[in-house]
């Protein structure tokens, strides 16, 4: 580990082909989400949802997206279909029971829009490797303490998940819990809140001390010039986003 006179700096694995300019990434994402909410054609939304799902798989976050779909969108879809297609039997603004198909279509529209928006958000943010996040945000103009806060916020969610699991394990090990079914886990929630919250605050203190002492965020920020952005990837991101946005805007404002 003896250092040479001019040590060669470290650079992460370069996947330039997949890396659009950060501004383009965020802009494309914003356009895509807006277009999703402006589109009322269920076939186009369905196609967009399929395309986003495929991209999510290509980006390597398919499993996480699938979990979100199963745990959030599937129950949400069933609930909305039941309410608007079954109970109300009509879309909003229409007399109850007057248009069951319209009610079902409205429910599907809501679900598909949320599906597309969350897929695009995941593509824009979660598909960025965590060690590249400070660099990408830095290029987008988020720097210094604000950068550290934003990165810490992203690090918090997986940590909360992990700590919840740890507290559950500790409760099992200490003979305080036996029921591991879904309902058993639900019953644990009130008992988990305090320890998880306390631990999260402590963890944030440790992490800020570690980051500051080792200057990890500063060093990552400084490495942002090492990252290479791909023009081709930027074009590939921007063109479909612009095209869809233009279509959605025209459809919305020209009736």
């Amino acid at each position: 580990m003896e250092s040479a006179s001019e040590p060669q700096p470290v650079s992460f694995d370069q996947k330039e082909m997949l890396r659009p300019y950060p501004i383009i990434r965020m802009l494309s994402g914003a356009l895509g989400i807006l277009a999703g909410f402006w589109t009322s054609d269920i076939r186009i939304l369905f196609t967009a949802a399929l395309a986003v799902s495929a991209l999510v798989v290509v980006a390597g976050i398919g499993r996480r997206y699938a979990a979100l779909c199963l745990k959030v969108f599937l129950p949400l879809s069933l609930g909305l279909l039941l309410v608007w297609g079954g109970i109300m039997g009509a879309p909003p603004g229409t007399p109850i029971g007057a248009d069951r198909i319209g009610g079902l279509t409205f429910a599907m529209l809501v679900v598909l829009r949320l599906l597309v928006a969350s897929g695009i958000s995941q593509l824009c943010i979660l598909a960025i490797p965590s060690h590249e996040l400070p660099q990408v945000l830095s290029v987008c103009g988020i720097k210094g303490d604000l950068l550290a806060s934003v990165v810490a916020a992203f690090a918090l969610v997986p940590e909360l998940e992990l700590r919840t699991q740890q507290v559950l394990t500790a409760r099992y090990a200490r003979g305080l819990s036996k029921n591991r079914s879904f309902f058993g886990l639900m019953a644990h929630i009130p008992l988990l809140l305090r320890p998880v919250l306390t631990w999260t605050l402590r963890s944030s203190i440790h992490r800020s001390e570690l980051w500051s002492q080792r200057r990890l965020i500063e060093r990552l920020e400084a490495r942002s010039s090492d990252l290479r952005w791909s023009r081709l990837a930027s074009i590939v991101w921007l063109i479909p986003a612009c095209a869809w946005f233009a279509y959605a805007a025209l459809a919305r404002f020209q009736g």
Binding site: M1, E2, S3, A4, P7, Q8, P9, V10, F12, P129, S130, H131, L133, P134, V151, A155, E159, L162, Q166, V167, T169, A170, R171, Y172, A173, R174, G175, L176, S177, K178, R194, P195, T198, W199, R202, S203, H206, R207, L210, W211, Q213, R214, R215, L216, L220
Partner: protein
């Protein structure tokens, strides 16, 4: 501690060398190491950027949280390609290259300790302080890590190591030095002392039989394969094996936190399913106390232990009062466990485990962070418990601690996941 002002008062620390910092618990060693690492800021040298790194005993807190894999964690820290190559060489030498693709949070305690030290060294810090993290390493990992630290003693770095297994540091280099910190009892609860004439009230002895026990984590390789053995009550078993061979996993299977993928666990000739009622026959003390403690006060932690097995207060060593006296926790009942220093957190976790009043207790690295006097007391307690019929399994890498235990039997987990007796 006022940063480096106090540290200069410690004679014997030579810049650009490795120094072993000795001292009893509560001598201010941890504060000193933290201040030492923090004091690096602003001092730029020839080969570093004035960075400091402190590696705590709870190595979990030394992970950046910014990396998805071990490889990324090291890359994140590495000052140069040479540092990366050096870390990679260490992992290859230990035959654990496969860990590079794993999440740092899924590693075993020893592996996390190795990663924490490796990452910190890859920073090429001006000041590096390692606080008891090396105690969690097995002989091979420890030897390789000490040699790595020795080779990393580059021109502008000063390295401090605090550890209670001092004898084992002599092997790394004759150039290394040692300094002593004087005891300051008013700073904390002091070393453990064994109360004389303490009686014991031990739950009903239970014999455990493991029959072809296997386990693998979802999506992972087999951790344990076909483990079969009998564990007789009243004995002390030392569960040994290299870091990452599944010692803690076996402990979690025994206490019922995990369910075996194959095989049977038999309590007193009755096939049982401990995962359906965990923590009733076997109590498990975690290696990292932070993963075990979750109550809002020390008092509550101990009460939870008693509540778990619905034990009525009985005279003896396993009552709350006795445990408080034994682990020197009397004045800390209202404290939040996570506000205490590591040494005390470890003691609270141990006391809470014993308070469960189970027939068996598994202690994972019970001596971690404890000074020599406390280690001797812990050994005495274990000997007393085993002598009265309690079954004890200990996961520990220290030969010195082993020598203090009464007739311990060794169970060694091989790298292939099997048990070698």
């Amino acid at each position: 501690m006022n940063s480096l002002q106090d540290s200069h008062q410690l004679k014997g620390i030579v810049p650009r060398n490795v120094t072993v910092v000795r001292g009893p618990n509560f001598s201010g060693r941890t504060d000193f190491l933290r201040a030492f690492a923090a004091a690096a800021a602003g001092h730029s040298g020839n080969n570093n950027n004035g960075l400091g790194a402190y590696v705590p005993a709870e190595v979990y807190n030394s992970l950046s949280g910014l990396a998805v894999t071990v490889k990324e964690e090291i890359e994140l820290h590495a000052q140069s390609v040479a540092c990366l190559a050096s870390a990679q060489h260490l992992f290859s030498e230990l035959g654990i290259d496969h860990l590079y693709g794993r999440s740092p949070f899924t590693l075993s305690g020893g592996e996390q300790a190795l990663l924490a030290v490796t990452s910190a060294l890859a920073l090429q810090p001006r000041h590096l302080a390692v606080d008891c993290a090396l105690e969690q390493l097995d002989t091979d990992f420890r030897t390789a890590t000490l040699n790595y630290i020795e080779s990393a003693r580059h021109a502008d770095a000063t390295i401090l190591i605090a550890d209670n297994r001092l004898a084992e540091y002599r092997m790394a280099s004759s150039a290394w030095l040692a300094v002593d910190m004087s005891p300051a009892p008013e700073r904390g609860a002091g070393s453990l002392t064994f109360p004389s004439g303490m009686a014991t009230s031990i739950p009903k002895p239970v014999k455990i039989t493991l029959d072809g026990l296997s386990f693998k984590y979802p999506g992972g390789a087999d951790v344990l394969r076909n483990v079969s053995t009998d564990l007789e009550p009243g004995n002390i078993y030392l569960l040994s094996g290299k870091n990452g061979t599944g010692k803690s996993t076996l402990a979690k299977l025994l206490c019922g936190v995990l369910r075996p993928t194959k095989g049977k666990i038999v309590f007193d000739n009755r096939e049982t399913e401990p995962w359906k009622a965990p923590g009733q026959t076997v109590a498990y003390h975690f290696q990292n106390p932070d993963l075990q403690l979750f109550a809002m006060s020390v008092d509550e932690e101990l009460q939870l232990g008693l509540q778990a097995t619905k034990t009525a207060a009985q005279p003896g060593i396993l009552t709350k009062d006795s445990l408080l006296a034994l682990f020197a926790l009397r004045g800390l009942l209202e404290e939040h466990p996570l506000d205490l220093p590591f040494v005390l957190r470890k003691r609270v976790a141990m006391a809470a485990t014993l308070a469960m009043h189970c027939s068996w207790v598994i202690l994972d690295e019970p001596t971690l962070g404890q000074d020599q006097a406390s280690i001797r007391t812990i050994a005495e307690v274990i000997n007393l418990l085993a002598g009265n019929g309690l079954g004890v399994v200990i996961i520990n890498h220290s030969d010195e601690f082993r020598s203090l235990l009464a007739k311990p039997k060794t169970l060694r987990l091989s790298g292939a996941g099997g048990l070698v007796q």
